[in-house]
């Protein structure tokens, strides 16, 4: 196994492009190292991106934010303003693992690991987060929902890597929330996850994005669910329509973590609960 610590993204791209065999980028390593130890993925080349300048910074980008690819969950939670603007996103990241894992785990790692159950991903999708991707053919900006393509797979080409995470401007009267269902209270993988982000005009919802995790091969952006609440004041009828649309979008599997029936039902329940929280937050921000 080769281990590299490039000091720039260009070097990282060059290393990745020429790498032979299984290649992994090493951010926090909380997926990579666990998979290595468990004989699931044994990389031939490990490219540690933590030595690249700026990767641990959270900085303003217009009215929004730029989050470096090595910023940990703990650093996001401890940030003064990020969590005030995007509580759902920060809480989603904070759900990952334990205190120890929080000191290592990153948004980018969570996204690029490609798990349909990744907690921060539905929150990022709901928030409309994009990422910068650099590779042998230059740089592009990609919406988070377009990164995962199947369990463990992403749309990144060989030699490409994520160089930054862009969180949009919060703007007025907006709120987001992320909830997951796990049978325990901690240290578990989402059986269902749901992110909701919305904006109000007065009491009425004028913009919304609803995203579901762990109910399909990739995290879903569910337009029908958003449409069910746009133009409403989140009354009971809207909530029921939201739940129905969320459940209808599910295409889960039966496995050790939950049944198809259970996941489909709970997706609706969580969508309602997350929407209510996002709505309250938006009202409070009005």
């Amino acid at each position: 196994m080769q281990y590299h610590t490039p000091s720039s993204f260009d070097d990282a791209v060059a290393l990745a492009k020429d790498a032979q065999g299984v290649t992994r980028f090493l951010a926090g390593g909380t997926d990579v190292l666990v998979q290595l130890r468990a004989d699931i993925v044994t990389p031939d080349v490990l490219i540690d991106i933590k030595k690249i300048a700026g990767v641990s910074d959270i900085t303003r980008e217009g009215e929004g934010w730029r989050i470096g690819v090595a910023v940990t969950g703990a650093e996001m939670s401890e940030h003064d303003t990020l969590g005030k603007e995007w509580p759902g996103l920060v809480e989603a990241m904070d759900l990952i693992g334990s205190t120890q894992v929080q000191g290592r785990a990153t948004l980018t790692g969570n996204l690029c690991n490609g798990s349909p159950a990744a907690d921060s991903v539905p929150a990022m999708v709901a928030a409309g987060v994009t990422v910068s991707v650099t590779g042998p053919n230059g740089e592009r900006k990609v919406a988070v929902e377009d990164i995962p393509t199947a369990p463990g797979k992403t749309s990144l080409e060989a030699g490409e890597l994520v160089t930054a995470v862009h969180v949009p401007a919060r703007g007025k009267s907006g709120g987001d929330a992320y909830l997951r269902f796990i049978p325990r209270t901690e240290m578990d993988i989402a059986v269902v996850g749901c992110g909701v982000n919305l904006r109000l005009d007065g009491k009425k919802i004028v913009e919304a994005r609803v995203s579901l995790g762990a109910v399909a091969p990739t995290v879903l952006l569910v337009e029908e669910a958003a449409n069910a609440i746009i133009g409403t004041e989140l009354d009971d009828a809207a909530l029921d329509a939201l739940a129905e649309a969320a459940s209808a979008a599910c295409n889960p599997i039966d496995d050790k973590r939950g049944t198809i029936k259970f996941r489909t039902h709970v997706a609706g329940v969580l969508a309602k609960r997350a929407a209510k929280i996002a709505y309250q937050r938006a009202e409070a921000a009005s």
């Binding site: 325990r184 209270t185 901690e186 939950g258 259970f262 709970v266």
Partner: protein, 750 residues
Amino acid sequence: MAFDDTKTEDFKVVGQRVKRPDGVDKVTGKAKFGADAVAPGMLFAAIVRSPHAHARIVKIDTSKAEALSGVKGIVTRADFATGLTGGDLDVLENVMAGEKALYDGHAVAAVAATSQLIARDAAKLVEVEYEVLPHVTDVDKAMAADAPVIREGAADQSVPEGMHANVVRYHESGHGDIEAGFAEADLVVEDSFKTEATHQGYIEPHACLAQLGGDNKGELWCCTQGHWNVQKLCAAMLGLETSQLRVTASEIGGGFGGKTAVFIEPVALALSRKTSRPVKLVMSRSEVFRATGPTASTSMDIKIGMKKDGTITAGQGTFRLQGGAFPGAPMEFTAMCAFAPYNLQNVKQVGYDVMANRPKQAAYRAPGSPMAAFAVESVIDELCKKLGLDPIEVRLKNASKQGTKASFGPTWDRIGLVETLEAAQSHPHYSAPLKEGQGRGISCGFWFNHGGETSVTLALSEDGTAQLSVGTPDIGGSRASMAQMAAEELGIPYENIRTTIADTATLGYNEVSHGSRVTYASGLATIKAARAAVKILCARAAAKWGIDEDAVVWENGCAKPSGPNAGEFDPLPIDKLTRSMGRTGGPIVGHFEATPEGAGVSFATHIVDAEVDKETGQTKVVRYTVVQDAGKAINPAYVEGQFQGGAAQGIGWALNEEYIYGEDGRLQNSVFLDYRIPVASDLPMIDTVIVEVPNPGHPYGVRGVGETSICPPLAAIANAVSNAAGVRLKELPMSPPRILAALEDQANNG
């Protein structure tokens, strides 16, 4: 040794919450656990395991693995003793597969190499050719006519004719006329229940370091609940003379019954013999789940009749336990414990020990009893509800007491069930109001407790301190309790005693630390050994004073004349006597060897409040109180710890822990991520009440407490959840999908 009334009134050290002597080493990381043993020239081992639930082993080709640089030796079944029978053969079959792999994870070969990584890589290079056979993992399916046979001829003569070959043992007990009893009842409730296998979940995986020469003399360091048992079994597996293998027990990171067996120790010894090097073998967590003892899984039918006033007129239970691919599921314990808390005129229980393609079950805290309580206490709860009766009143009305006949035969001696029920009834928890969405459940539970072969030595040092050697690995703070009992008898400070878990060469045979026996049996032996030492001390004083031995008494660490007639002498403190012991007759050592048989049974009553989210099926245990009879709490803090530990493990078993098998017969969740043991934030603070009804069979009245604490939780939680959800849950674990399915069933079927 009978209960000693006079002694119990003025305890000085017993009953104190002293600090455990092993505490500092454990919190500073100095304590040596199984994996901490090292030896010069040591090799590392890895085990090759079957990926199939049931398969004939056609061929094992080790040539590629052997060719890997750093590999020093490979063993298969051919490297172990032949001609074993009975239980020894079962253990060997489990340790290393013979003709067939019997479950996913069954060991088929093992490699020793110069590093852990090389050993792991080499294990992957061992080529095993399998002929895959049909498999079965569910207990009911394993008994069905079309089930594949795990092993022909494994059944003993107890099994009724016409049963499937996978049913290997049968049990029946009870008394009275159950049909007449059911006829007397105003209401009869009959239902069926299932529980999944759970793992003991100890934090420390099995680990050992073995050294065995061509001369068949060996040393073994391992984490175990009983090293004499390891010695005996390993000697058998490897064809050694028992005394030529010395076994030392390391500190132990939990066992809960799961470390009363051998898994890797004979393998490491075989590799050591083959390579002439010390061999270290440490299991991964996944190996622990796949190949070491979970509990049995069960399928149970219960029928109970009750009068309107709460009198139980008859009880009947059928208990089918699946214990893996070997005989030994503890179905007789399940059957015997099921109705033990109740004084029944008519009772019958039947048990079946069933084999399936799963790892060999191992003991787990009160093996078999928690499942029985789950089934029986659920039906009692249902009866109470339907008849509008208070669940504690009903249990008090039917409670077993001194002099009543136990459901499995004997007549009860002094027992404390009623006292636990009364303490539960008057506990503020029982009358606290419940919030919306919450339900309360109660349950009783019973465990036999055990005595067992025990050998203890207490040697006095010249300064009047004492070295206590016991042979029961300390799995719950027992070194502290032993030192407390020795200090009490010798009349010296607790700190002046050092308790050591001695190796197999140092003491006579000690049965494993199981059956809640340690504080009872090693405790009794410690008291006896201390009294033997005191007797010698008194004799030395008598000789010095020139008076009769009987005229000397031992008080507060000093020899004294027994009264004015004995003569006028100043008390002789222990250190005066020990300093001169070389000149007055030699070293002073007390010892005791016996198989004490007065282990008092222990009963408990638990109260649980649970909250169920009816939209997601999620359960939260919001309040929990354990009330249990400890006989006499030598160290109340560790007794409470046992109470809380049993409840915590019971919460996991009841709500989320389970062995999940795929269609292919492979274990799906062999990591803690998916084997959902409770995490700290899943648990409420667990309140405890220690009831002390002295055990007539122990000088201080001690009853074992380690196991009874896990008997009521499954039932108490099931009753709480059923009351909160408004629907009876009959299958464990009560995971969220199962609760939602039960709610939906009820909504559809009314």
